[in-house]
Symmetry: D3
Subunit: 209 residues, 6 copies
Amino acid sequence: MDMASEVLQPEGDDMARTSWNMRRIIAMYQETFTVIEKCLKPVVVAVQGDCVGGVDLITACDIRLCTQDAWFQVKEVDIGLAADIGTLQRLPKVIGSRSLVNELALTVRKMYADEAKESGLVRYGYKPRISGQGGDDGWSSGDGRGDSSPVAVQGTKVNLIYSRDHSVAEGLNYMATWNMSMLQTEDVMKSAVASVEKKSPKTITFSRL
Amino acid sequence: MDMASEVLQPEGDDMARTSWNMRRIIAMYQETFTVIEKCLKPVVVAVQGDCVGGVDLITACDIRLCTQDAWFQVKEVDIGLAADIGTLQRLPKVIGSRSLVNELALTVRKMYADEAKESGLVRYGYKPRISGQGGDDGWSSGDGRGDSSPVAVQGTKVNLIYSRDHSVAEGLNYMATWNMSMLQTEDVMKSAVASVEKKSPKTITFSRL
Amino acid sequence: MDMASEVLQPEGDDMARTSWNMRRIIAMYQETFTVIEKCLKPVVVAVQGDCVGGVDLITACDIRLCTQDAWFQVKEVDIGLAADIGTLQRLPKVIGSRSLVNELALTVRKMYADEAKESGLVRYGYKPRISGQGGDDGWSSGDGRGDSSPVAVQGTKVNLIYSRDHSVAEGLNYMATWNMSMLQTEDVMKSAVASVEKKSPKTITFSRL
Amino acid sequence: MDMASEVLQPEGDDMARTSWNMRRIIAMYQETFTVIEKCLKPVVVAVQGDCVGGVDLITACDIRLCTQDAWFQVKEVDIGLAADIGTLQRLPKVIGSRSLVNELALTVRKMYADEAKESGLVRYGYKPRISGQGGDDGWSSGDGRGDSSPVAVQGTKVNLIYSRDHSVAEGLNYMATWNMSMLQTEDVMKSAVASVEKKSPKTITFSRL
Amino acid sequence: MDMASEVLQPEGDDMARTSWNMRRIIAMYQETFTVIEKCLKPVVVAVQGDCVGGVDLITACDIRLCTQDAWFQVKEVDIGLAADIGTLQRLPKVIGSRSLVNELALTVRKMYADEAKESGLVRYGYKPRISGQGGDDGWSSGDGRGDSSPVAVQGTKVNLIYSRDHSVAEGLNYMATWNMSMLQTEDVMKSAVASVEKKSPKTITFSRL
Amino acid sequence: MDMASEVLQPEGDDMARTSWNMRRIIAMYQETFTVIEKCLKPVVVAVQGDCVGGVDLITACDIRLCTQDAWFQVKEVDIGLAADIGTLQRLPKVIGSRSLVNELALTVRKMYADEAKESGLVRYGYKPRISGQGGDDGWSSGDGRGDSSPVAVQGTKVNLIYSRDHSVAEGLNYMATWNMSMLQTEDVMKSAVASVEKKSPKTITFSRL
């Protein structure tokens, strides 16, 4: 249920009403990051320096990069609260080790770029190579790809997020229902031709400096 | 719902009917990999050289090996479509980093053996040691174990797959209901005796060359 | 359903009744580890030497440490049964690589401290530094934090476990409903003040020797 | 996922893009009825005469009334499509007999007031008694109650909808987390006093003429 | 998981192996009724006289009719077993009262046509009117409709079954993804025209004699 | 998660801590009714006169009876709170019409025996016939059956409750795994023989006076 848009709320100011209002506000903040998942273009985020209070944001993105001097901290416990706008929900689904997730969230330990890369939170711990492809430097690219079919890229994002929250069987069923129409795009033919014609794909390659 | 075996489909050739048929065909292809999960013997897959279009297949297997020259690519976006026969559904549940999954699926980047091993996609990046145990070289072993109790091995596989798609509480409930009869096998006594008698277990050890 | 506390069971001794009783006993054993998740204090476990038959226990804990000589083994298949008190359910949600999980459970291979650390099962492969903070050496600390707000720490644990078993949307909804009252604690103010006053947080730092 | 608010969509006009746009439009229409569930006040709907194309709307409401001459029809199959803005999703959860739901949706049969009442779709098949309570005639009452605690009424609605879509155990867990703060309202004391003082509750009584 | 088609099973004849084989056989029997749900044409079933052991079958159908002398019984408990090929799973989702479902399954009480109709198990307790429409008497009609669009009828069935097993939000999401292509059928135009031209729809009307 | 048995709770008395304690207490009350579902014997409940505050209790039972003078009321809204120990979670799964459930919970309307019977809440609106079978009058019978196989009756109850909270496919899978051992009971043979030998089954027949 989309709590952020609940139409009414009880008037008054006792503790229950304060809680009610609090819940609505939390939901609104949560929504500010969830829209990133709803954006059909893949979203690449790059972290420079400290990322404190930003883990909510970056875990809602699709691909995470960082500079060598980046570090990450889930600091909410230190200020007396449980993180409530996405970190506890998304971080365990982004990185592999739940032991690490628990430690970060419970002990407020800082994690630096190297460990962040090893843990799978970010894929390349450093600044991406400035590629000459299309005058694009990789950081500003919205979809991670210069010239891919939007039908393919966006369908991939929608189904990756769907799979995250469902069983494999459910994900396969949804995928088949999705592609039954999406395969009927002229992009398939165009992409196939383009794929044959050019030797190297125009993939943005996030490599180390 | 097992779409592949839907009994009827609407005749005709407008776009809706084409979609309907497309969905049935996708489901049939999906099923060709899902049967690997249904095979009660653990399935070990080994990759040599390129694995393009094969990620669907290998993620449906139980254990993945590869040679040093192996590389992996999820190429569907490049030909204008979202991967629909298992990669987007199973890959995120096989490897730990969703950042990496997203990058592979959205940017068509190649991943080589070393990174594949680090990411957890394959467990040993190289050719397994040819073991002398039982004249078996590890590659051809269907269940990953020479002489284990099939009741134990197969029950383990069934419940590992069940756990993947359910909460911990659900998984525990199912496990208890499974083992309430499966523990009543004479294999437990036989295995216990064998376990005591032999010094080293006949486990296939997938080690580096 | 809490099988361990099923009120009655059918009398008699045929195979069905034996199964029934077996299921009740398995559920009781499962519960002995599940209570660790119900403990609102974070639970840190440290492994020294072999951890055979203990993977059920440690995967129910929040943070796992080990000494350099530790090794881990899921040995159930070797004695003719599928592990039924938590390993098959929790291990795949603790470490990132399902390939590794499958291999450990199906081939009974030993995993040593270094690989355990790389896999994400334990976070620091070695003995933690004896910190001078509060005369506490890190091993005995129940909540991983010296002086954090219990409202914050415990709420974090409850929601991390809830997220593990639900979709992101479900987790966010539950989190907002949780925090609508939990934010109304005086700990937030106290923690904020404390956070400003002291230079270095009293976080237990699990570092290598 | 809130499809109605997907931020972008692929440009162009082939079949896949038409489908994409179609999906967004369907989701927008669906949302126009889902907001009724998000309205924290209970919504009472009253049907007079034919309700064709309106079953989507009324099944999203909390309480359904109708006049003696009302009739209901799910007519989508007759115009070549499957109902896609709520009827197939909500009707089976509103009335008890799935046999009836299937028949209505598949055969386009009309259902008149008497059968609608028997089936549980509407609770009172006739015009409600014009009550003298507060000059309110029952039809216009937004929350079905004259002077109930909004904390109680709205919490009841939120949890009834939550229960519809979850298991009993899940619903109980959510309810406890909800009420842990909502019970701390002064409405409980006020309501208790009012409940003792007045002989007959001011409940709107929907009775037959 | 499609247990009926599990590829292998352990050889031998102890109790665990007997259980394993038993499970496979039960799954095969279950599948014989589940195919009815997979049949894209709506399936109408009519019961004459006793329906003992047939409740599994009829609850897998879409619409249930019966003659005046029909009666229904869930007799498994009387022969020492829990019904395992569909009754306990589908009956509670077909009729409204769980109290009745429990009583039928636990006490083996017979239910006659009148109560079956009231309970919602069958929609018309009697023989349907022999309609003159197309020389069809209603009993033999496979899809309950003479000339409806198959795209509409079959899409309706698929989504009704999907909704049964999912939350409303999940059902709406799937429906939108389904119809994004299915609305692009020429049947919509044809049906609309036909709907305007003919005065009375050719709906099969199941009325009492 | 079994909140009632959470091992620790934060000390102190601010609003957050009061909420925390409140949640634990609610969960304990919820558990007092949930144990009825865990009791493997079917539980029959009979209501005489008013059932106010007892709807939580009776909806956790398996079969509900009542005398002619019984009436039911969900009165929580009238005292300023949302019902939190089972009514909002179980009532919608017991009776067919969600319109009625909503009305009862939101308007505090009384429901009398006749309507309760029609709605499916109770199966027989009146006092059950005092049967001469075994000197048992039907009210005191714990399992609703004089001499049924406990393996059959209890397995039926466990699976009926499982089905309530799962999809049909999930329910079928669990059922097959349950019965793979439970069919191996000597009760099947005994019951079959008994079933043939006696003319009329010893079923308790709840009939009207």
